[in-house]
Amino acid sequence: MSDARRNAVDPCERIGSLLVGATPSASLQQHLEGRARLIAAIDGLRKKSRTRFALLALAFVGAIGAAALALAVRSYPRAPIAWRVESGDVGTQGYGGVSAAGVSARLVFDDGSDVTLAPGSRGRVAGTTPVGAEVVLEQGRARVRVKHRDRTQWMLDAGPFALRVKGTEFSVAWKAESETFDVWMHTGQVVVTGPLLGDALALSAEQHVRVRLHDGIVQIDRASEPSSAVVLETPDAEVSPSTPPAVRLEGPARLAPSSAFGVAPALPWSKLVAAGDFARVVRQAEADPGRAISSRPLPDLRALGDAARYEGNAALADRAYLAVRERFPSSSEARAAAFLLGRVAEEQRHAGVDAIRWYDVYMQEAAKGPFAGDALGRKMSLVAASQGREAARPLAAAYLRGYPSGPYATVARDFAP
């Protein structure tokens, strides 16, 4: 437990801090498993929902609906894409392991796509549909060429990462031992999801991304793929004593952090705040507040404002929220920042006039926003406290018109019975 938590003024706040500090955060494995489990559950829900809808539709339109359905079914590609092994050794059920000394294994799909597993790699075809396939790269490197067609849905999984592909050519590598993930784009676009990448990362031709989970580093550059002579690192057991040092990845891995294409810091503040680690966010920001305010992306700035507010650092919260408004003026966060600036002014700086001004700004910018009721309610309370109940009456009436069952309705009825 940190001293800051122990030093919280209110005993109940200290108890809350005790609980927060004791909350175990999920491991990366738990997070990924949870996500995979959710995705599977949602797929199940979707299928159920589709079935229910189809039954209703059939009952409603009768024979005409059935005929339309038959037509739709006829126009839909019926058979899943077939695939075969053109070279290499891939066993039944689509599982393939290519020895380090062997030749590449090439899987050819009927839709014109192909996947080549490099020596020392393991992978499998998890399944195919009429419009695509899911290939899992468990270890090693693969070159993927997906032929673009209407409604193509190709997916490639590599460790905890997933790539969504429409039509493109790229190489992907996953080293489980060092938890390093690489994608070298050749043509087209892919969307990558996985740890440290946020919701999704779109990559286009000639880009390369490397994610090192151990170090928490994401690196994007235009490094070219190592030549075929530079094969992937393989498990020690599979490496013969004579295996040349070329088994190690070279090239992009050697890029210094100060490379022109940069290294992005991991652990976005929004995630730290979501995990309740407010102090850490504030600590990191205070190491170089100017840079944080001027260069952090929108979610991190908003998170910094929230973290500083929760930590009682009004000055830093103000700076962060003001930066949100200045740098991202058209975002919804910019509007929310106005309300939150009002909260900081009211609760932490006890500056009622400033707070009312910010609440007015918020109501003007987001009359139907999520904090509109709160802004009006807070303004009403502040006006009542500073100018008397009579002055608050019109605000109370306005509140009751807009939010008759809102959290301030009881107070408002007291002012405007």
Partner: protein
């Protein structure tokens, strides 16, 4: 300067452009990306709320999963797409409430061992802190659901009073009353506890 160059060359991940409202709308339109987006953004929040309201339990991951499945079943009823976070927290609280009820029934039917909280690892390896957490949850168990949730939302999640009232679907005055009772109870019990009293700094509660 170097940083600016790096940022200019680094393509901004689309996530930066996705607000809560965007994600909620994707979920409402059954977009396959929604599960990943909402999980990655809010699994930590939901896990925290469930853990802190329910206490250490072996079913934590299952409950977090249930909350998100509940979200996708009910996301069609979310009228204000930007209220994704409070909507999820509301589902989490309902899930916890159901679990607490089941737990009480199980205890009443004597299906649980002894009603004591199981020994589940916390972040702290210090046995005194672990014991303090166990005793604290035992005190929270003495509160009704509303008091327990109000206490956690206010003092752990940092909710404002109005936000707490909205999450519990009660008026501001009700939540104030509930919170005052919960605070007084927790403080009173903790003050008498030899371990917890050291934590709260006895005597400075007004």
């Amino acid at each position: 300067m170097a940083t600016r160059v790096q940022r200019a060359l680094r393509p901004a991940p689309p996530r930066d452009a996705l607000s809560d409202a965007d994600i909620a709308r994707l979920a409402q339109h059954r977009d396959p990306r929604a599960a990943t987006l909402v999980w990655d953004r809010y699994a930590g929040v939901v896990r925290g709320v469930v853990y802190r309201t329910l206490g250490p339990c072996h079913e934590l991951e299952d409950l977090v999963h249930d909350v998100f499945v509940g979200f996708f079943k009910n996301v069609g009823t979310l009228r204000d797409a930007s209220s994704l976070r409070p909507f999820l927290v509301g589902i989490a609280l309902r899930t916890v409430r159901t679990t607490l009820r089941k737990r009480r029934v199980r205890h009443w039917l004597r299906l649980s061992d002894d009603g004591n909280l199981p020994e589940v690892p916390t972040v702290d390896s210090d046995p005194r802190t672990r014991e303090a957490i166990r005793r604290l949850h035992a005190i929270l168990d003495e509160l009704d659901h509303r008091g327990r949730f109000a206490f956690v939302l206010r003092h752990c999640e940092g909710y404002e009073l109005a936000e707490t009232a909205a999450a519990l679907r009660v008026s501001l005055s009700t939540v104030k009353r509930t919170l005052a009772q919960a605070d007084a109870h927790v403080f009173s019990r903790a003050r008498k506890d030899d371990l917890l009293s050291g934590w709260i700094g006895e005597g400075d509660h007004e």
